[in-house]
Amino acid sequence: MKRPVACASAIAVAAMLAFASAAQAQTKTITLCWAAWDPANALVELSKDFTTKTGIQMKFEFVPWPNFADRFLNELNSKGKLCDLMIGDSQWIGGAAENGQYVKLNDFFAKEGIKMSDFMPATVVGYSEWPKHTPNYWALPAMGDSVGWTYRKDWFNRPEIKSEFKTKYKRDLAPPKTWDEFKQVAEFFQNRTIDGKKVYGAYIFTERGSEGITMGVTNVLYPYGFKYDDPKKPYVMDGFVNSADSVKGLEFYKSLYKCCTSPGLTNAYMQEGLDAFKSGQVAMMMNWFAFFPGLYKDPNVGGDKIGFFINPSEKTKGVQLGGQGISVVAASPNRNEALQYIKWFATPEVQKKWWSLGGYSCLKSVLQDPGFVKSAPFAKEFLESMDMVDDFWAEPSYAQLLLAMQKRVHDYVVADKGTAKEALDLLVADWTKVFKEEGKLK
């Protein structure tokens, strides 16, 4: 009796092992590369549904923002096989398209019935198209984002603060709508003692090494009338980048930095802003909408204590576009599986869940849903912001253009070097040199 039982057990174990190894052989794994931040955690959660549906396992490579561009641009340039899917910055699209680093998705979109007209126009232009405003798609809009503002609603609502503000400025204390109002509010809070602690007016981006100060200053430059080039003569920048309005805008950013920020804010970007706001140091904070779901949940400064507002206007409206599209890396050996992920990610149900988990969908059906505006306390502001976005150059030479602006703006705003006009004139000279090298200017 014992022998047949033993034989049966051995056969069962062998069969199990055989099936297990066959199943393992069939299981594909694809790797998605992105920045290490709150929305990436939401994407990990969301992607479990993809694995359940397709059996394809997901691996994630998330790199902190300060090293994000360095790490993944190196990966793309070296034709590395680490990433199958890349959620790369919007400005990479030109370089990635022209250097054959992303797969062109037009045929795939046509075959699968994915229509770019179903996505918000600004996100399609910003995240997917190269050349801009042409129907050549290299990414699916994945994570809508722009700069927005948080403020301490609880401080703004305190009767003694409200009445003092009204006495001083003859208007109610409220989230600012223009940059002049913004400066008044920031000055009002600067060095004020609240709950026994010294607080500061505003937090703005000043980071030097990657993209920080550029992503900050443009939120003032755009509303003041800054333009990247002559709308009639592409790449002709003199009189646009360094126009009188642009100069005023740059001077204003410096005045904000000088009057209303905390000491030591000389090289600070998103994370430092979150730290400053969460520790109750600042009344108003510039940051990306992507962080707002996490801030709203924060036990110390979230909930009723936090409010949100869109970037103030001046001569016109404008705000810096953030966010990214999702692309298939041309060097990936798992192209079909990566495309399957994009197909799955583009479906309305997945996009709806993406928003509910803390990601920012770019799909019109999600954003135009009647319940969307009330679905989160910052949803209305997000929609308004996405209607007024502008983006930095997305040229193949974007890194050179960005580093030039980082240098010129930081030199003027933080290091007190020269005047705003000189800084912008030098920037025009730098950018002109780059475009001449590229053969785009004679």
């Binding site: 561009a69 360095d70 641009l73 190196n74 793309l76 340039n77 034709k79 370089g95 022209e98 250097n99 054959g100 980071e207 030097r208 090494g209 905390s262 000491p263 030591g264 804010l265 000389t266 090289n267 193949p396 890194a399 050179q400 580093l403 240098k407 930081h410 030199d411 003027y412 933080v414 290091a415 007190d416 070097k417």
Partner: protein, 320 residues
């Protein structure tokens, strides 16, 4: 067991194990050929990882190559890249920042390092313990040092400002070490000095301990004062070691990158943008590979030339 460790036995076994044809061929080689045979792997490695990249960099420096545009046509540009490097005001600003950093770090580290070595050499009670304590900073990673000094320099919560405030009475939030154009260059000098003075101390200590005691005893017999002994014996005999420390620190600090990049990112503005940071930005952020190769060659020639002149001076001092 003992037999297994006997070198003759090991040699015999090796001889037995060598196939006869190979043994015959080796027996036919001259001593010089065998020497070459032994050093050949090292030379091959050296050529592969040092000389070839250097030659390749020289070649790239005469082209418009960009590493992020593999499909673009690579064209020769003659000496244009070198002209651009040498006429670029930003490059000269970075070289000035590097020279300032180099001069002050070497001066401070040499003075402090030698003073510490002189004190430690007194062999007071617990000198071994204090030597270990002093050496701790140089054992840390530059990345760690850069990050934690960024916290120490933070004007609101940083310890550095509080210490300065305690001794000077200046309010701690009233000055910013890494945010101020005037103070930032000094902030990186302070950190580098804090980190690398122990290294200079160690080399100087070796120099001081190499001076034979009988020389001092003879000086004592001649009634030479301590001051006289220092100037006539200690300093001249330790000088080659001090000069060696200066050479090492000079070469290291000429290519300083990690600590400064983490501490200031070259800011505020470009105040602390050393040559190596500019080079990294050109090479791996702007992807101007040809231009940055030319810049790298210019830096290499500068440091190589200066180091050679210095080594000649060092040899003269040693032979005196």
């Amino acid at each position: 067991m003992m037999n297994a460790l006997d070198p003759h036995a090991v040699l015999d076994k090796a001889v037995e194990a060598t196939p006869a044809p190979l043994a015959r061929r080796i027996r036919g080689l001259s001593d010089r050929a065998i020497a070459w045979l032994f050093i050949a792997p090292t030379i091959a490695l050296l050529l592969a990882i040092n000389i070839f990249p250097l030659l390749w960099t020289i070649r790239l420096s005469f082209t418009n190559f960009r590493a992020n545009r593999p499909n673009a046509t690579v064209a020769g540009v003659g000496i244009d890249n070198y002209v651009s490097v040498l006429t670029d005001p930003d490059v000269w600003a970075a070289m000035q920042a590097t020279a300032h950093f180099l001069f002050w770090t070497i001066l401070l580290q040499t003075m402090l390092g030698f003073t510490l070595a002189y004190l430690i050499d007194r062999r007071f009670r617990g000198h071994g313990f204090w030597t270990t304590v002093i050496l701790i900073p140089m054992m840390l990673s530059p990345a760690v040092v850069g990050n934690f000094w960024a916290f120490l320099y933070q004007p609101q919560i940083g310890l550095f400002n509080y210490v300065v405030s305690f001794f000077s009475g200046i309010p701690p939030s009233s000055f910013e070490m890494i945010g101020s154009v005037k103070l930032a260059p000094w902030s990186i000098i302070i950190v580098d000095t804090w980190m690398w003075t122990p290294y200079v101390m160690l080399i100087c200590l070796a120099g001081l301990r190499s001076i034979p005691n009988y020389i001092y005893e003879a000086a004592e017999v001649d009634r030479a004062s301590r001051w006289r002994q220092f100037w006539s014996i200690t300093l001249p005999m330790a000088l080659p070691f001090i000069m060696l420390a200066v050479l090492f620190r000079g070469i290291e600090n000429f290519k300083m990158f990690d600590m400064v990049n983490l501490l200031t990112s070259g800011g505020p503005g470009s105040t602390t943008e050393l040559a190596s940071i500019t080079l990294k930005r050109e090479a791996f952020e702007k992807w101007r590979t040809g231009y940055s190769s030319a810049f790298a060659i210019v830096l290499f020639v500068t440091v190589f030339g200066l180091a050679n002149i210095y080594v000649k001076a060092l040899n003269r001092v040693k032979n005196r």
